[in-house]
């Protein structure tokens, strides 16, 4: 479980997060929704340690992530997998080398063991047999899947996805959504997804947090989202479907 307690973040005095407190449960697909520029990505960056909150705390299973020293921070980060909006695969490495990367850095696996693990991860994302291709040689959807395979290569406990469906066609988006849901269930991890895509929310979401102007305007279950009574959330959902 990941817990945020009164997380605030400002850039040059401009407040972007205004005291977010929430919990993300293990074994669930937790969705963070909201319009662009309201703080979703900043919140995610604060959670994975790419940004330091101005105040407040982030807890990973009772470990205060915001107050760990650098070596402890790195240890927690090894339990984190992240799928970036642009996939962030290493261009100069093949698909196999990308997925193998963390295994090579942090485990004492032999080359054969690493290859088995890479093949297992690529099978999980339904991408077997592309080990020797470079990221530039595969499609955007395939890159996303390889990004997920890389994220789960180590035995992670937490999976973060920043706009996993951006730039993908509806069919591929649906496949990525199903994949994320499946991985969350199979590995019993805490998955947190930043998205604008309401179809994703209704298809795979368990819990939802709606961010509006840097605050968590609404928290709840997906089934309650249409009857939330929150004006901002209702407007956001209507606008999403209208789009």
């Amino acid at each position: 479980m990941i817990e945020l307690k009164d997380v605030r973040k400002s850039f040059d005095g401009e407040k972007v997060l205004n005291g977010i407190s929430t919990k993300f449960e293990t074994g669930k697909v937790n969705l963070v929704i909201g319009s662009s520029g309201h703080g979703k990505s900043v919140m995610m960056k604060c959670m994975v340690g790419l940004l330091s909150p101005t105040s407040g705390n982030v807890y990973y299973d009772d470990r205060d992530f915001t107050n760990l020293d650098y070596s402890e921070l790195r240890a927690v980060r090894r339990e984190i997998g992240m799928l970036f909006q642009g996939t962030a695969l290493f261009d100069s490495l093949t698909v196999e080398e990308n997925v193998e990367f963390t295994l090579k850095m942090f485990t004492k696996m032999t080359k054969a063991e690493r290859r088995d693990r890479v093949n297992f991860c690529l099978e999980q994302v339904d991408m077997p047999g592309i080990n020797d291709k470079y990221p530039a040689e595969i499609s955007g959807g395939m890159q996303k899947r390889v990004g997920i395979a890389r994220a789960i290569a180590l035995d992670i406990k937490y999976l973060f996805c920043d706009e996993p469906n951006s730039g993908l066609d509806p069919v591929t988006s649906r496949l990525i959504d199903e994949l994320l849901q499946q991985i969350t269930e199979d590995f019993n991890i805490t998955t947190i997804i930043n998205t604008h895509d309401m179809k994703t929310v209704f298809d795979i979401g368990d819990d939802v947090i709606f961010i509006y102007k840097g605050t968590n305007e609404w928290n709840g279950k997906v089934k309650d989202i249409k009857t939330s009574g929150n004006e901002m959330l209702t407007n956001f959902i209507e606008a999403s479907f209208f789009d």
């Binding site: 994975v48 970036f84 642009g86 962030a88 695969l89 290493f90 090579k104 850095m105 942090f106």
Partner: protein
């Protein structure tokens, strides 16, 4: 104030590189790859520049000094000494600032703007150490070797130009070079080479690592890496000459 702010960030970047490597063997592999990129990859340009540098210097010294009162070996001694003390280390490294420096800055800068550096951090890897340290170590090993090759080839270029133009024979050139040779001059050249190697690789890595934005900013970082490295090389050239000669 901006200079001090940037210099402070540069020092913090250097400090941040030094943490216990996640896996030493991976860092050694990366260093060897970078040694190939920096050393072998720059060999052709260094060879061409060194030979022509020695050849042209010989012709120009001869043009200025040929006189019945000056022995011809003096030309060899001047070309040899100036190659070792200044031309080979400084000109070679200024060229390497352009070739190696821009490559390092654009490589790391591209990774930065495409979130690959963030990906390394999220994985628990010290991104500045992983990306910059192998390049700096590789530069510190390979650039002095390139400078030694450059010194040798400058003299070879001088000999060829002397013989081809009929100004002086290879024996006269080598006689002059031997007479004026001081081991300390070679030491000085290597001190310069190591200093310049550190400047080129670290300044360029820093420029790449602090890139924010997109393709335009990557190009801008690459240009800054070359300009700042060149200025720092010339500045340190003066300081080293003042301190060590």
């Amino acid at each position: 104030m901006t200079f001090f702010h940037e210099f402070g960030k540069y020092l913090l970047f250097l400090k941040g590189m030094f943490s216990k490597p996640e896996k030493l063997s991976v860092y050694i592999d990366r260093t060897i790859t970078e040694m190939n990129n920096i050393g072998v990859g720059s060999l052709t340009i260094v060879v061409i520049i060194a030979i022509f540098q020695g050849a042209v210097t010989t012709l120009q010294i001869a043009y200025q000094l040929i006189s019945p009162l000056i022995a011809k070996p003096v030309i060899g001694s001047i070309v040899s000494d100036s190659s070792m003390l200044e031309l080979a280390p400084t000109i070679t490294c200024l060229v390497l600032a352009g070739k190696v420096g821009s490559h390092i800055a654009s490589e790391i800068g591209s990774m930065k703007v495409r979130e690959q550096v963030d990906a390394l951090e999220v994985m628990g890897i010290n991104s500045s150490g992983y990306l910059a340290l192998p390049k700096i170590v590789a530069g510190l090993i390979m650039i002095p070797l390139l400078v030694i090759i450059s010194i040798f080839l400058s003299n070879l270029g001088g000999i060829i130009a002397g013989e081809a133009s009929g100004i002086l024979t290879s024996e006269e050139y080598l006689q002059g070079a031997r007479q004026s040779f001081l081991p300390y001059n070679l030491f000085f050249a290597l001190v310069k080479a190591v200093t310049y190697a550190f400047i080129i690789t670290s300044v360029s890595a820093f420029q790449g690592y602090t890139t924010e934005g997109g393709a335009l900013e990557v190009g801008s970082s690459s240009t800054k890496a070359v300009v700042y490295s060149a200025v720092a090389i010339l500045f340190s050239d003066y300081i080293l000459a003042q301190l060590l000669l």
